[in-house]
Point group: C2
Chain length 516, copies 2
């Protein structure tokens, strides 16, 4: 407890809020231009760069990252943040939020030497390039040493960040503030307890949806035109979007006015295109709808990975795979493929979108089996971090867990542990946020309905503006100024609870598979 | 004169070359990552960015540019360069060349405040965006105030750089070291004295080449495939090239292993595609073939704009529009357009490429009239800098000079003063380097021939390796380590002389138009 009347131990600095604000603004400008450059170069690199560009790109990004870290970790920044937080009444809410977010970004970096950070950026740039070729060639062996090096480097950095904490917990917290295995273990247990028996019941049911009506080959260039249609249907601002082509879909956001989506289309899987685009479109809506006043500051962008995935998986699944939205979605599909899809009904499309069948590829998984893919990765990442497994053990473990949870035989690593980009990027600890985001989304939908929205009617109308406006006001608008738990509490009137997610899955798939 | 035995006025620093080298390397790393980011973001921006991206991109580039300038202009860098140049024997040729180039880059910036530089970057980012829309809408009025502001800002910066010198001379020197109006005036006089009467004779001749065989509509997507073929024919390394689509073709080079070409194709003008690509391919060859040891240092890239244009216009014209190269070029064209071009002969193609007809668009100009387009811009830029003309006067002056030099009526500003991107980029003083580069190229060809190369046989073979190797060894390889005049002297055994250019034009067009 502080005695306000006690004499200070040393002479207090005379507050000069104007100078502090100028210093904060200058710091934000430095951070902004480095973030912008890193985001654009690192996002576009794997999409557009020719083969020989990798080394110079990796070095440029590593150096920019090193400068960003140095700017953030400079001792005078610590003093500045102290002064700002000690004089809240002079600063205003936005600047206090900036200081809070900058302090957290700084805390996650300050104990790792800048050279070590830069070396890690170099390693992951190279590893990502190796992974791309390894996936194409189904060659786990070439990627294997990189995974071991990445885990080792992440373990070492985690020790530097917090020697008291389990290294994997450090990274879970990094991707989703406030989480750890102690948070995720019961969450995944609850999800598993729901999904595993539900999936078994679905598989045993005689009443099964099928996707026959959506099978067949769909012209690739028309599918790219469809990708644009889907962005318009979803309500993405096309004047602030660049759409490119890549193997592994992603969204990057250098600016509020500049979001990059890179996606893929497969001739024999038009639904993969539909749900990839709706997913990346959800990320895009979040990035584009942050308060414009936060542009070019540390408050720009999504507040956490879980909350980001909540938006993408909301538009992919809760809207995109709903029965109500099948009508507007089908219209868009029929306009591009009138011959092939002219006789399909919305209900048939809805069934085709929601066949719960175990499959090898996470990105193509249905909503029900999806969290099992995440669970497998969560378990494997723990084994890598604890040392229980090395990269060399992963293919066999991958096969065993896919057999156990999904009943599948994994034919090769391209359809196995090489399918995802995340490990090559150094994003171990990221996967769990996908499942968490799905669970956030189910609760957000429940809150919309509880607040009086006729959710199905909005979806059926094909004009998602009311849903976007609800999310904009409650989530997107706030950027990084509020944390996930704060946003969930304010938006839903109660803290996060996984029961909304398991209830949602149970109701939806019981109905689809005639289990009720 | 220095007395070597005199005691120094102050205690001399003890030389520590290892520390100096480390400091130089650190500076180069900082400069590299900023250059890389600025080049990639600023090059790609106008090609890929959506409409709303401009403001944030402009701010990011301006801030990165400001940091680059600050790094270069820091007082300790001046001291470092002094120490390096005072101890040449400890440094090696490469580091001395780095110091020389850095000193020059620094000198061109040090007297302009960093904020003024950044404001200029912001202005030109916005102006370029306005120009793109103004050109599309044929709307000079919207661009006009930007041009006045750009000239004013450039005049002000020139004053800061060198108050003794004429501001336009400052910028001429900036784009081509060692040049000024005193250099260009006699050069252009010599070119004009050759070209104007030669053009008149050509126009009066009854013997005229025509381009009928190359007229018609050529499928746009096949033209893009042709663009790739042309890069292979020219010998560009496709593993270090990204090819994109834009309105105004350009080449950017973030890395030795990463060159960006953005180009356009017009359905009704396949030759425009051919020569745009050969031109940008020449820039690309230069960037890709700099000594790999110079990658990520200030020695990377072309030594001057004139020398860069020498390479691009060499491959566009001296190779590309030669009779000998018409055979291999036609083969490539016929492979993509067998129906339309199957019966064309190499000689017909050669004639079609070389019709000397005054035209409104510089980029589509034939080799003979081309320097007159440059001369017009050179004269107008002088008027803008001297204050003799404001932006509002440009359309009328543009029309008058096109009438005078080319006998043309200018129908609108889109086909007039809005056609080029350069003024919106703040590149006033750049245009003359195109004519100078053409003249460099003619002299380089003469040197190849004088050195024993059978130039026509090389072109006719379709394998340009001997030409590339000659240019690689004599020019490209050196990056910025040698200046244009040094390179020309070493490569040609004599200083630059415009007579090679006027001789080349006279011979080529006299023969084409039967004037001999």
């Amino acid at each position: 407890m502080t005695n306000a009347n006690a004499a200070p131990a040393s002479e207090p600095a005379i507050p000069n809020p104007r100078a502090d604000i100028a210093q904060l603004d200058a710091l934000e400008r430095t951070l902004y231009c480095h973030r912008y450059a890193i985001d654009e170069i690192a996002s576009l690199g794997p999409v557009i760069d020719p083969a020989k560009a990798t080394a110079e790109r990796g070095e440029a990004v590593a150096l920019l990252e090193q400068e960003r870290v140095e700017a953030l970790c400079a001792p005078e920044v610590g003093l500045l943040l102290d002064r700002i937080e000690q004089n809240p009444e002079l600063m205003g809410q936005t600047r206090l939020a900036q200081a809070r977010v900058i302090r957290r970004d700084r805390a996650s970096l300050i104990d790792v030497p800048a050279e070590e950070q830069a070396a890690f950026t170099r390693l992951t740039t190279e590893a990502n390039d190796v992974w791309r070729r390894a996936k194409a060639a189904n060659d786990w062996a070439s990627f294997e040493p990189y995974l071991d090096r990445i885990v080792e480097a992440m373990r070492h950095m985690a020790q530097a960040k917090n020697a008291e904490k389990d290294p994997y917990d450090v990274w879970l917290d990094e991707f989703e503030h406030g989480t750890s295995r102690a948070f995720y273990d019961p969450f995944f247990a609850q999800v598993k307890d729901c999904v595993v028996p539900l999936l078994a019941d679905c598989m045993a049911s005689r009443h099964k949806p099928d996707h026959k009506v959506m099978d067949g080959k769909f012209d690739v260039e028309r599918q790219w035109a469809l990708a644009g249609d889907l962005m318009r249907l979803e309500g993405v601002d096309e004047d602030a979007l660049w759409l490119g082509r890549t193997e592994h879909p992603f969204t990057g956001g250098p600016g509020v006015g500049f979001v990059l989506i890179a996606s893929h289309v497969y001739e024999d899987n038009v639904l993969s295109n539909v749900f990839s685009m709706l997913h990346e479109g959800g990320h895009t809506l979040y990035e584009q709808n942050v308060d414009p006043a936060y542009a070019m500051t540390s408050l720009k962008g999504g507040t956490s990975m879980g909350m980001h995935e909540a938006q993408s998986r909301f538009f992919e699944n809760i809207v995109g795979r709903s029965e109500a939205f099948a009508g507007p979605l089908l219209e868009v599909l029929q306009r591009r493929f009138p011959g092939q899809l002219g006789r399909v009904t919305p209900h048939q499309l809805y069934l085709a979108e929601n066949c719960a069948a175990p499959c090898l590829i996470r990105c193509d998984a249905d909503e029900l089996t999806y969290p099992l893919h995440i669970l497998i990765r969560y378990e494997l990442e723990q084994m890598l971090f604890s040392g229980e497994a090395k990269a060399a053990d992963i293919p066999a473990l991958w096969a065993a867990k896919h057999k156990e949870y999904l009943g599948l035989d994994v034919p090769d690593d391209a359809h196995g542990a090489l399918q995802d980009t995340h490990w090559s990027d150094g994003s171990l600890g990221y996967f769990p946020t996908y499942a968490l985001g799905s669970a956030f989304g189910a609760q957000l939908k429940a809150a919309m309905v509880a607040g009086g929205m006729d959710f199905d009617a909005v979806c059926a109308s094909g004009d998602l503006a009311p849903i976007r406006e609800w999310l904009r006001t409650n989530i997107w608008h706030w950027g990084r100024a509020k944390d996930s738990d704060e946003l969930m509490l304010a938006a839903c009137g109660e803290p996060f609870s996984p029961a909304y997610y398991t209830d949602y899955l149970t109701q939806k798939f019981s109905s689809l598979y005639g289990l009720q």
